[in-house]
Symmetry: C2
Subunit: 278 residues, 2 copies
């Protein structure tokens, strides 16, 4: 079977085109795709060059290209469409399909402005994401517990249960102020949390994880055999679960959840506002 | 003018629906939208409940809802479409519009499987993102310079030019191993970089920024007046630029660039592989 090349063409960063294209090709598990992002195609000249390159690569591969595009400007879009059409491309443009019905429904013409979705439109909103990231870094792994007043949410869980990546994702993607506190040592043994944290019980959200997966994650880190031993991970997970139950802390199982899913579940459960969407 | 409510409905985390919907409504700058994410609509029963809630909210607001959805299962999608249709919704589903042409082009039926784009499909690929994030954290702000062997890219720039968020985004979104090194003190005065860094010159990428914006970013942090003074920021930016020029280091201006744009430009310029796309 010929491997097909998929191109994500964008007049800007390419994030939207990649997101759209990936979610579609992920539905064809049996096939393999080569993926090429072609960002910053912002003028007709650049469109000509990009489209010719796409055709050249497709010719080399001996199969028509598949092109997912998010090209807002009609002249740029039409140029790419016309040129890749000569190589029998499947050309799917996102704005092409959806802006029309949306304009009609809203009774407004759209701006056809480039880079509005992943550019800096509003410095204040953008700075909020950066502030949220700084907050997550400063309040990672139990640091600066006196700053929990400012937190939107405080994730708690055993080491390697996914707290840090989830906090950083919540910050970078949604502008949410997320701190995290690791459950270790005497907290686990006594199923207690420190007073500084307990004062913010309404902000606490737990992460749990299956012992086997936790053991794998810890082994990969290679810090001490005991840390990753079946006995130790089982003990920690059990104690953490007991603590969540005793204090009635809501929690989510991170075993088969990606960062995006964890973030989404936590936002959904806590009803926190998604302040920004990158 | 009636404010319209936009719903992002998904059978999973909602990240794809949010990204796509946002990039569309961002084209209507003159209008204001209320945004509601409705994730994890994975069964017909949940679809009924979600759709009725959408209709109730729309009724309260007195305007038909706008629904962006990424519902892979046809029965779930049809249920939502049918029910919100009673409230005269504009219903736009991404799979609906694009899976058909894609199936035809590829000569394959798609799986219609839920959560394949932001779930954990492949633990190894997923773990790579987490490893990349751990790498970015461990090699932030000049730490652990002996680890640059493993880095894909090392960002250099003055304090607050955007190095840390860009590194974390490269890691979380693209699985790229990104370190960063801050230009300060004697490095800036002498326009030099340390030997440990200079050994990896082919991995270095610079960030520059306009002095005024840098001053604003630093003022917001509130650490010392000198740090944010026009004189100091101008000096630092000039010296950093001189260093980039002298050592022929490629760089990008971060002043009006979002994290996504910075990441995309750096990947494009360095030809680094986008290993994962979240």
């Amino acid at each position: 079977m010929t491997q097909r090349t998929v191109f994500f063409v964008s007049d800007h960063s390419g994030v939207t085109a990649e997101t759209l294209g990936h979610s579609l090709i992920a539905q064809f598990d049996a096939l393999e795709f080569r993926k090429v992002t072609v960002p910053f195609v912002s003028t007709v000249d650049k469109a000509k060059r990009a489209a010719r390159k796409i055709n050249a690569q497709a010719r080399k591969q001996g199969a028509p290209p598949i092109v997912f595009s998010t090209l807002v400007k009609e002249d740029v879009r039409d140029t790419v469409r016309e040129i890749v059409g000569r190589a029998d491309a499947l050309f799917l443009d996102f704005f092409d399909s959806f802006l029309g019905p949306l304009e009609k429904e809203l009774g407004h013409t759209s701006q056809h402005a480039m880079g509005v979705s992943h550019g800096i439109q509003d410095f204040r909103e953008y700075d909020r994401r950066i502030e949220a990231m700084n907050f997550a870094l400063a309040h990672d792994d139990g640091s600066n517990q006196d700053g929990y007043d400012e937190a939107d949410v405080v994730l708690v869980g055993v080491s390697r249960s996914g707290k840090t990546p989830t906090c950083l994702y919540l910050a970078l993607h949604y502008g949410v102020f997320a701190a995290n506190y690791p459950l270790t040592g005497s907290d686990l043994e006594r199923r207690r949390i420190p007073v500084a944290l307990a004062r913010h019980r309404d902000k606490i959200y737990g992460l749990t994880i299956e012992p086997q997966r936790l053991g794998e994650l810890r082994s990969a880190r290679g810090i001490g055999r005991r840390y990753a031993s079946p006995r130790q991970v089982s003990f920690e997970v059990r104690q953490a679960q007991g603590l969540f139950d005793r204090l009635d802390i809501p929690f989510v199982d991170a075993t088969r959840c990606s960062i995006e899913e964890l973030a989404s579940r936590i936002l959904d459960a806590t009803r926190l506002e998604r302040r920004t969407v990158s």
